[in-house]
């Protein structure tokens, strides 16, 4: 690995170097751009690179440093955004044909906050269309590949954001997590990925998939960077009614406290059947290390997790069936050119504009909400959601955090699950419960399997328990000492 390359620095080190004058923001941007020029051909992690906007922001950051202005730890740091967050004047597609070419007239709240903090936004990363998928194969503009082995998927739906951080074509990135869409690709790409407490981060300007589950969160190469990125975007927003008023958890202070004296629960349902033996072994080994570091380990049963996946695949499609109704060709985006009535125009626009997985979920959700079926499907799923919440609540009465694998398997080959939606849906079995409960969770890389593919370790905490969660994540990171990087990240030595 070319350790002297700026693109491989942590955000913390890059921020320190900017302040000591070792390099400029423009140089950091050049480093990640150079990296992207080598890796993108194989990975396709970006849908749009905003070279001009990024250069302007980097120049502005350097000018600010020169003028002694400091707007915080992200000033001058090149970061990438999942392409379902609105960026003013920069194409935002949610990886769907129905939004191809659409340039929002407004910035998402998260984007506004990042700009206000002086961050340099490199571009928009690839995803499963409307964040529906677990492999980034459902993108209308071509799949993203896994940096550790391009024949494998990077996970999804925020596969582009995970891959770009893993390979160094951004210092950090943001994704959205509805059922595991940050944590699962983070696990599969060997980076840190975190889903905040529901309501901690504003959803305003995030193209909705399932409103009661969606949360924006960061990808990074270290736990400390994750806390820095979250801190920059967290906090109440008057444009999102579901955002939480009040203090944002203090994140950075807790990272080095260790786990001595903490009670850590191992979710027994997520350590049994269906979990790949190598994944289970790596997770068990980390649990033993935590015990060795002074934590008390207890087995915790969350019986309702058995039904969580089914409940999720009713609730999320139901919400998406309404959220995606606005894409009708009337006001923006794709409009069918076929002749016909208004209804023809709207339905053809949707038939042409949406990909098969999106259509499958809209149909599923429409059906689940229909008269005569509502109670048996959507109503029942909501009751399961309450049970999941209750299970978590009683568990957190007993333990400080819960742990499990992030994903039941490591990355799978491109195409392997594409034709089998149920197998694909099972990829999120470990992550979905935290979305249903609205609690925070983080994935930290702890090792590689025998194919050289990363394994993620999930830490879950009660609502607004980010501080405790990061404390454990910091310990896991230290104990794992996971320093491996994908070969692609150093391949620029052979590039022209």
């Amino acid at each position: 690995m070319n350790v002297s390359d700026l693109a491989d620095l942590s955000i913390a080190d890059a921020a320190a170097g900017l302040r000591s004058g070792d390099f400029t923001s423009v140089e950091l941007l050049e480093a990640v751009t150079r990296r992207a020029s080598v890796t993108e051909a194989q990975l396709h992690s970006y849908l749009t690179l905003d070279a001009e906007g990024a250069r302007r922001a980097a120049g502005a950051a350097d000018a600010a440093f020169a003028a002694g202005e400091d707007r915080g730890p992200l000033q001058g740091i090149p970061l990438a955004l999942k392409d379902n967050m609105c960026t003013i004047g920069v194409e935002t597609t949610a990886a769907s044909q129905i939004l191809a070419g659409w340039k929002p007239p407004y910035d998402a709240t998260v984007v506004k906050r990042l700009r206000a903090g002086g961050a340099v936004l490199t571009g928009k990363t690839n995803l499963d269309e409307f964040a529906m998928g677990s492999s980034t194969e459902n993108s209308a503009f071509g799949e993203t590949r896994n940096p550790w082995n391009p024949r494998y998927v990077p996970g999804g739906s925020s596969g582009g954001s995970a891959a770009t951080v893993a390979v160094g074509s951004a210092f950090g990135s943001f994704g959205s997590d509805t059922g595991g869409s940050i944590r699962q690709p983070a696990a599969l790409c060997g980076v840190v990925g975190m889903k905040p407490t529901y309501g901690l981060v504003s959803r305003y300007g995030l193209i909705a998939f399932a409103s009661s589950l969606d949360q924006i969160g960061p990808f990074s190469r270290s736990v400390a960077d994750s806390a820095t990125l979250l801190d920059a975007i967290a906090g109440w927003d008057r444009f999102d009614s579901t955002s939480i008023e009040g203090e944002v958890p203090n994140l950075a202070g807790s990272l080095d406290k260790g786990v001595s004296g903490l009670r850590i629960g191992v979710v027994t349902e997520l350590m049994g059947e269906g979990i790949d033996p190598q994944v289970k072994a790596a997770v068990s080994s980390m649990i033993a290390s935590l015990e060795g570091a002074g934590a008390e380990i207890v087995d915790i049963s969350l019986p309702s997790t058995e039904y969580a996946l089914s409940a999720y695949y009713l609730i999320a499609p139901a919400e998406c069936s309404a959220n995606l109704a606005r894409f009708d060709g009337v006001r923006y985006g794709h409009r069918s050119s076929s002749e016909g009535t208004t209804e023809d125009m709207m339905s053809l626009t949707r038939a042409e504009g949406f990909g098969p997985e999106v259509i499958r979920r809209i149909l599923l959700g429409t059906y689940a909400l229909s008269a005569g079926y509502y109670d048996a499907f959507y109503g029942q799923a909501q009751r399961v959601r309450t049970l999941v919440r209750n299970d978590f609540a009683s568990a957190y009465g007993d333990v400080d955090v819960l742990v499990s694998p992030t994903s039941p398997t490591t990355a799978f080959p491109v195409g392997e699950r594409a034709a089998d939606p149920i197998a694909m849906y099972y990829s999120d079995v470990c992550t979905i419960p935290s979305n249903l409960s609205g609690d925070p969770a983080i994935s930290v890389p702890v090792g590689l399997d025998d194919k050289g593919l990363p394994i993620g370790f999930q830490i879950m905490a009660p609502a607004l328990g980010e501080e405790m969660m990061y404390q454990v994540a910091g310990a896991v990171e230290q104990l794992a000492a996971f320093t491996a990087r994908p070969e692609l990240a150093s391949s620029e030595v052979v590039a022209p």
């Binding site: 379902n84 967050m85 609105c86 935002t92 949610a94 939004l99 659409w102 929002p104 007239p105 407004y106 998402a108 959803r203 305003y204 300007g205 995030l206 193209i207 909705a208 399932a210 409103s211 009661s212 008057r238 444009f239 999102d240 009614s241 579901t242 139901a318 919400e319 069936s321 309404a322 109704a325 606005r326 894409f327 009708d328 009337v330 006001r331 923006y332 009535t341 208004t342 209804e343 709207m346 429409t366 909400l369 229909s370 008269a371 509502y374 959507y378």
Partner: protein, 486 residues
């Protein structure tokens, strides 16, 4: 009309009221709709990807005010739902509305019909958002399917809308109209909406069914839309009652459907049947938290309610007015204020009421100016009533003074003397006149003296003629009686 003999109509009414808040229901755009299309819009009310709704607290205040005035229970926690259907002027292709747990439930409204009080139950009052406006161009009956093309204006999209739903308590087209009128009066009195039917800021849908008198089971109902005035509401319902009775009497059955009122032709026509009707797939909107209206908030609204038409009506009736006069006054805010002030200052309610609802309205109409431009004040009315009471003005002279005060202003005493309308009640002058009339009409006087009181009116008239109409008739009558006593 009431239903044909042997039939009973069962009617429920849904009323949409646009609130006149400053901003829209879920965004900061102005709620007053500009003429220039699509100029009062933002990412939220255009449903751009990623935009989210935030409830307008002023609108919630408005609905709580309406619900309180209608005697509803206000739910401390109520829920927003998504009502899903596709239509080009509905930006999200779902409307944020309410379903279970609306803001207000279980109210009632006293509705006077021909002076008789009737009660209409209010099922619920809920909060929702308006749609944009479609202009169908090149069509027959204002429908999208017949249009060549449709223009969309989203200025109205997201304007706060309150829906008031009645129980099926209404039994006639007249009562329906009276209900609509009373609801409009209440909304206007509350000042929460301009409630203009012709402009669509208040609109009715009528649910109508008929059944044979004596049956308990409800008939199949139809819902009639596009009713844009109180008169149309009455006409549309009357038509629908008639149509349904005829269909059933001819051996047919009523189809559950939505019907469209055609104002020009005076008929309702089928829009869509139940089979074609939408399944709205209501579910709780995950973008919005439960809406909390605390007990303190409810109390604040209750304490600041203005006087409502029912109370005004009772007050006016107590002042001695008949039902008809009361209704006219209740419908005219300017006159109601004049009446209230004049009576409070001690004027006789009946005189003032009759003047206001008679000569004042008639004169303003004749002269073609709005009542708001009349210069008449309550002080004038008090003074005028006193002059009539004291016999200084005849009732016809009082009317003349009244119209002059409306046009020009000025005190009734000044007007009366300037116009030489003051009555003579000085008994000396009157006695002389009576003596002359007695001397000139011996036959009539003889009859009166003999106990036949019929000619007294004739003798009165003669005296008045002598006095050029300016004699106080009460005094004249007294003198005449005294002088013709046997």
């Amino acid at each position: 009309m009431t239903a044909p003999k042997g039939w009973e109509a069962v009617i429920g009414i849904e009323t949409h009221v646009e609130l006149s808040t400053e901003s829209k229901m879920f965004c900061g755009c102005p709620a007053t709709i500009p003429d220039d299309p699509n100029t009062a819009c933002c990412p939220v009310c255009l449903a751009l990807p990623g935009a989210l709704p935030v409830p307008n607290q002023k609108a919630i205040d408005g609905i709580v005010t309406i619900g309180t005035a209608l005697g509803c229970t206000i739910n401390e926690s109520s829920l927003f739902y998504r009502k899903n259907y596709f239509y080009p002027d509905l930006p999200k292709n779902y409307q944020i509305s309410q379903y279970t747990f609306p803001v207000c439930e279980f109210g009632s409204l006293e509705v006077p019909v021909d002076g008789e009080p009737t009660t209409v139950g209010i099922t619920r009052v809920h909060m929702e958002e308006d749609t944009g406006k479609s202009s169908h161009v090149g069509d027959g009956g204002g429908r999208i399917h017949d249009a060549e093309y449709t223009l969309l204006d989203f200025n109205r999209a997201g304007v706060p809308l309150v829906e008031v739903v009645t129980e099926p308590d209404i039994r006639s087209a007249e009562q329906a109209r009276a209900y609509g009128a009373e609801l409009q009066r209440i909304v206007l009195a509350l000042g929460v909406s301009d409630a203009r039917l012709e402009a669509g800021s208040m609109r009715f849908d009528a649910n109508v069914s008929v059944r044979r008198v004596g049956t308990v089971e409800l008939g199949t109902r139809t819902e009639t839309k596009n009713v844009n005035s109180l008169r149309s509401l009455q006409r549309a319902i009357a038509f629908e009652i008639d149509r349904q009775v005829k269909v059933i009497e001819d051996g047919g059955t009523i189809v559950q459907e939505t019907r469209h009122w055609n104002e020009d032709k005076g008929v309702t026509t089928s829009m869509r049947t139940k089979e074609e009707s939408e399944d709205y797939r209501y579910f709780q909107d995950p973008d919005l938290l439960p809406l909390a209206v605390s007990a303190e908030w409810q109390e604040r609204v209750r304490a600041s309610l203005p006087e409502l038409p029912a109370s005004v009506r009772a007050r006016f009736a107590d002042a001695g007015l008949d039902a008809n006069t009361v209704e006219i006054l209740v419908d005219s805010p300017e006159l109601a204020v004049l009446f209230t002030e004049a009576v409070a200052a001690g004027a006789d309610g009946r005189n003032v009421g009759n003047w206001l609802t008679g000569e004042v309205i008639a004169h303003a109409r004749r002269e073609d100016y709005p009542l708001s431009e009349s210069k008449l004040t309550s002080r004038h009315l008090v003074e005028l009533a006193q002059m009539v009471d004291e016999g200084k003005l005849s009732s016809s002279a009082a009317r003349e003074v009244l119209t002059s005060a409306m046009d020009e202003g000025g005190s009734p005493a000044d007007i009366a003397s300037a116009k030489d309308l003051l009555q003579v009640s000085d008994s000396g002058a009157l006695e002389t006149a009576v003596d002359i009339v007695i001397a000139d009409n011996p036959d009539a006087v003889a009859k009166v003296v003999g106990g036949d009181m019929k000619p007294i009116g004739f003798l009165m008239g003669q005296v008045m003629r002598h006095m050029a109409g300016k004699a106080d008739p009460k005094v004249v009558q007294q003198i005449l009686r005294d002088k013709t006593k046997g």
